[in-house]
Subunit: 160 residues, 2 copies
């Protein structure tokens, strides 16, 4: 294994480990618990779950590996704050979307080659990428893992 | 820049970005707020801060770059749960330790070479490392960044 391959493995291991960690939290919470606010006046569990799916859906675009699976989540879970949208999917529906999305992402990540991980993501121009080669596809995984961990730390607080 | 150097930069950027993010949260919270439990019955802000310092102190050992700065934090903030220890440092003291530690860690990280980041950390044997080359020093930064983000997501909930 080259150092580059080791680096990719470490980043993806942390991503998949973080997904497994959230799966564990979700399986410990029932749908009623997900309806609760983490702290009075703050986001509900269901909003955090929808927000994560919406943010991860955008990774398909940023990595240039497909279209969003659930574009309808962008408005209620990214553009809008919690409790603004009048109609959002149920916790059960979001759980199904989350599981489906993780299958699709794994499938697509598996097909990205070592060299491709270090090519630019779609939100940076060719010109900027020449000066900032760290704005590559692998970095999208690094930043989204951070984001996922941040919200996992919140969801876990719903447990009694 | 080689791919290896880019990978190291991405990982360290995410670490320092996460430290800055926590600094921002800490500056928005006063010492009284840090004394509160994030959610009734769960950890207090002060415990999370002490826990992060204790965990980051252990990175000095894992990376083989020095002795712990605050070994006295291991017992109350790692071995014991919150509200078990009868005497812990004040929020003011912990803020000073946190700032000092971040200076020291940056100083020491700056001296680690590209090749060294891919050498084994001190908690893995030479034998295991041959089979699992991802158990290297850089991976310690990756996993601790995850951990830091997880708890940052909790601390932010103390803000009104």
């Amino acid at each position: 294994m080259t150092q580059t391959e080791i680096a990719i493995k470490m980043v993806l291991d942390r991503w998949y480990g973080s997904i497994l960690n959230l799966n564990k939290q979700l399986s410990d919470l029932n749908d009623d618990q997900l309806q609760k606010e983490i702290v009075p006046g703050k986001n509900r569990g269901i909003y955090i779950l929808g927000h994560l799916i919406a943010v991860h859906d955008d990774m398909l675009i940023l990595l240039g590996i497909g279209e969003k699976l659930f574009p309808q989540l962008n408005e209620p879970f990214i553009k809008q704050a919690d409790k603004v949208a009048t109609q959002i999917p149920s916790a059960t529906e979001l759980r199904i979307m989350w599981a489906k999305q993780n299958e699709v992402l794994k499938d697509k990540f598996d097909k990205i080659t070592t060299a491709e991980w270090f090519t630019k993501h779609t939100a940076v121009s060719e010109e900027d990428f020449l000066k900032e080669p760290h704005r590559n596809k692998l970095n999208i995984i690094i930043t989204r893992t951070s984001h996922l961990q941040y919200h996992t730390g919140q969801l876990v607080l719903l447990k009694n």
